[in-house]
Symmetry: C2
Subunit: 394 residues, 2 copies
């Protein structure tokens, strides 16, 4: 149902598309024999040899014999691998308290990762820009080879057209062209791709986590906020201006509490960390994170009060999930953040609650815990940086 | 973010893709000069001449000089048009009471359309299959030229993998392979594409109605049921098994009435025809359709009680729309069925209600009345049939 027209094709653009297809395959599936690449692309052995040669010359692929013992029949296969030491992306995830940064090889291997305190000052985004600039400079490959892409995950509404941060409530940032500022400040050749952390986490779970091979996926992560990312037809849903996927602001309880966004009864107010702490009977805690860590630890130990709090979260969680199931008909729903322990602690209760709430049994339901934990936004930023590299690859 | 690999390309597959691109353009945009086709496709004049010649030979395109007076400079442009008399699809929309059928030319012109009583008997889908078979035979081109595609719109959950009707609550049909049965019975060469009426209506509004040029679109139509169709990135959202878009079964009022689906507080129970009649204070009517027609007519005449009923529908409508806006970030929301007069009668009240309910003002909002009325499912069935033809075109 795509209404776009395809442009006429010349040999150079065909060659570029074939190179991109090879790169994408190597990134997603890792080392692959030349014979398999012929199989996958439909190209001849000599065409593959030529294309792989070009990728090797450009520092993106490596070729070598397999390390497996020969089978005794014919020549040993030649294996093509992503050149992950040479070709890498830098990924950053920004939170109020911390900044994570990692160097991820082309092919998806995390080569190095660290977590550092965010030198954050309210109302002073330039201070953060400066810290990020220093980190990116420091993390550029010791040999000086620049990254093939840079990605930054932020808890923010990010405009699709230009990557501008329109609003990051927790950070207090508004109208910040973070990507452009970092590029200018670092002097690195590649643009910096900025994305919403939950959308990027969804991409990471699909590529490297609990959603592999799923083209239609809903990812929900609850913490203080409730974020989400949706893939339909193998594409991250961004919507018209980039804000698609704000599932934390579905109104699931019209008579509910006021949300920080100004609306009332948003899913976020019903199932986020504050809701869980409220349900658990904790008096409004001074340190929300400490109270939450305590509650989680108690639940792990089997403390009945803590488990009861998780059980009471089941119905409001199910009320939002029903909507997502009926609207998206996803192949899989991945639950992250607080919902991951909730799924473990409440067993089949969530599925029972869903069965009681939903009236379309034809729509399948497959709930899975997230696999990447709080690394997901960082890994997603790396995947988005690779996507950007591939889309611009000539 | 597409993870698929593109296959290596040979000249024949390139030629096929270029032919498909030309056909798609002619279908969507109508008569186009050869010079414009060169511009659009990036192909040379001689390549376009060859491709158009093939389409003409196959009865899909016509060439001729423009009917506009010559400008006096150079040769008059040669105009390529879809050959709508020769190449056509048959489209059918099935309801409990009626069956509509139309012959739609390649290019989108409705050549003929009729509406006939559905010879419906509960529990006897074969009776309907027989009537549909006769209609399709009768509506095949008088010259005997078979249609290039056939599409059927049904109020049903339709499985994506094989077009099987899993459940059509109003018709009482379950597990009916309507498309296969019709193909077998009619002996027509092309498969019969079966789709959910609201999803097809959304496609029609995007192609020929209120959603032109919108790649990210939400269509909501309320009648007895509430159906919807969503386009993201120019694709109709089908979800993993074909049931994506069941927005009538979002739970927008967890404490609400029981829905016919078995759940409680579905949007359909809050804003469908029964809700409107209930709000209007009408005692449970014997004839729901007559009562609805009466209410609509009174509202058109400015009857204050009828208008009040529409005004009271505004908040429950807004509660569902907020979710769709925040989840999909659509470029446009198209309101059909009862929501179309509601939008007219309540003026800016709906936008005010939405402004009061939603907390993310960055997400744009553009509400429009549907343009195709109850022809939309039929026109969508025709568009789906053309899509299917293009996807299989060799």
């Amino acid at each position: 149902m795509n209404t776009a027209t395809t442009r006429g094709r010349d040999p150079a653009s065909l060659r570029r598309d074939n190179l991109r297809a090879l790169l994408r395959h190597l990134h997603l599936h890792g080392p692959t024999s030349r014979a398999e690449l012929c199989e996958i692309t439909g190209l001849t052995r000599s065409a593959i040899a030529g294309l792989v040669g070009e990728l090797a010359d450009r520092g993106l692929a490596l070729e070598g014999p397999t390390s497996q013992p020969p089978t005794g029949r014919g020549r040993p296969p030649i294996i093509v691998s992503p050149h992950e030491d040479q070709a890498y992306v830098l990924a950053v995830a920004v939170e109020v308290d911390t900044i994570r940064i990692s160097r991820v090889g082309f092919g998806g291997t995390v080569l190095a990762e660290t977590r550092t305190a965010h030198d954050y000052a309210p109302g002073d985004p330039q201070r953060s820009v400066q810290q990020l600039t220093e980190l990116l400079r420091e993390w550029t490959h010791p040999s000086g080879t620049p990254p093939i892409g840079l990605g930054v995950a932020v808890p923010a509404l990010v405009r699709a057209a230009d990557g501008r941060i329109m609003r990051a409530p927790n950070l207090g940032w508004q109208h910040l062209s973070l990507g452009d500022e970092l590029r200018r400040a670092t002097g690195l050749p590649e643009p910096v791709v900025v994305g919403n952390e939950a959308r990027l986490a969804a991409l990471a779970e699909q590529r490297r986590g609990a959603g592999r091979e799923c083209g239609d996926l809903v990812y929900v992560s609850a913490d203080v906020g409730v974020g989400g990312g949706i893939l339909t037809g193998d594409q991250v849903l961004t919507g018209h201006t980039g804000y698609g996927g704000e599932i934390g602001h579905m109104i699931t309880n019209p008579g509910g509490r006021e949300c920080h966004c100004g609306a009332r009864g948003c899913w976020e107010t019903e199932i986020g960390a504050d809701a869980l702490l409220r349900i658990s009977g904790a008096p409004a805690p001074q340190d929300r994170h400490a109270a939450l860590d305590d509650l989680l630890a108690r639940a792990e130990r089997g403390d009945e009060d803590a488990l009861t709090a998780f059980r009471e979260l089941v119905r409001p969680v199910a009320l939002g999930l029903v909507n997502l199931v009926n609207v998206f008909n996803p192949e899989r729903i991945i639950l992250g953040g607080l919902l991951e322990p909730m799924l473990r602690h409440t067993g089949t209760q969530l599925e029972s609650a869903l069965a009681g709430l939903r009236g379309l049994p034809e729509v399948p339901l497959d709930l899975r815990p997230a696999q990447l934990g709080d690394h997901a936004p960082l890994l997603g930023a790396a995947e988005a940086a690779v996507n950007h590299f591939l889309a611009r690859f000539e």
